[in-house]
Symmetry: C2
Subunit: 118 residues, 2 copies
DNA sequence: CAGCATCCTATCGGATACTG
DNA sequence: CAGTATCCGATAGGATGCTG
C-alpha cells in the first residue's frame, strides 16, 4: 500500500486553532469582511485572524479582495479551488460526528476533552 | 448549512507530529511491536512514540496488546473501528497529493514549506 | 477598518537518564 | 524491551498598543 503519504499535507493546511471556524463561516456566508469575521468569531484576536487567513490565502483556499478606499474594506471568500476541499471537509466532519458518539459509548458522556486528546 | 461543526474533532485526533507516520506504518504492516515501530520511524523518541500511541489508543484507533513476559513484548495494531478512518485518510491523502501539484502550478516547484505553511 | 509590531506565556516536542 | 521521569528549547497562540 503506497498511499497515505500525503494526508499529512492536508492536515498541515487545516491545522491551526481557528482555521476550522474560519472556513466554516466562509463556507456558510460566502463572502465576509474582516470585521464580520471578527464578530462571527468573538474570541479571536486580529492577529490570529489575519495570520490564519494569510495561511489559507497562500494555499489558495481563501481569496482576499482589497477595496482601495478609506476606510479600508477587505473581503474574504472561499476560492473556486477551495471549494474542492468540500469533499474532504465533509468526510472529516461525518467521521468526527460519529466518532464523538463512539467515544461516548466507550467512556460515557461528557468525558471528551478530559483524557488523551492532548 | 449546519455541517462542518465537527471536522475539528477529526483534526484533533490526527494532529501530532508523528501520528501520520505511525498510522501509515500500522496500516501497512498490520501489527507491530514497539521496537519495530521505533526502527520504522528512526527519528522518533520513545517518549513521543509512547505518547502518540497512547492518544491513538484512547481514541480507539490503535489497539495495545501487552504480553506478560520477560523481556516485555507489546504489539500495536489498528482497531476494527480504526479501519473506519480509512475513507477519511484516503480522502485527505488524495486531496493532499493534488494540492501539492496545485501549489506547484501557483508558485513553481520546490517552494512548498517556504511560505505561509507555518 | 484592517491591519502590523512587540512582548509574553503556554504547550508541544526533543534529549537524556533511569527502571520493572 | 518497553517504557517513565525530568529538564529544556522551540513555537503556537494571546494581550496590547500603534498606524495608514
Amino acid at each position: 500500500m503506497e498511499t497515505y503519504c500525503k494526508f499529512e499535507t492536508a492536515l498541515d493546511i487545516l491545522v491551526g486553532k481557528w482555521k476550522p471556524v474560519i472556513l466554516l463561516r466562509l463556507f456558510e456566508h460566502g463572502t465576509m469582511r474582516f470585521s464580520e469575521l471578527q464578530k462571527a468569531i468573538p474570541d479571536i484576536t486580529k492577529k490570529m485572524l489575519t495570520q490564519q487567513l494569510r495561511e489559507l490565502e497562500y494555499h489558495d483556499i481563501v481569496h482576499r479582495e482589497v477595496y482601495q478606499q478609506v476606510p479600508p474594506k477587505v473581503e474574504y471568500s472561499i476560492t473556486e479551488y477551495g471549494r474542492g476541499m468540500h469533499t474532504v471537509l465533509k468526510a472529516m466532519n461525518d467521521w468526527g460526528v460519529s466518532h464523538i458518539e463512539h467515544l461516548n459509548e466507550l467512556y460515557g458522556e461528557n468525558r471528551l476533552k478530559e483524557k488523551g486528546s492532548r
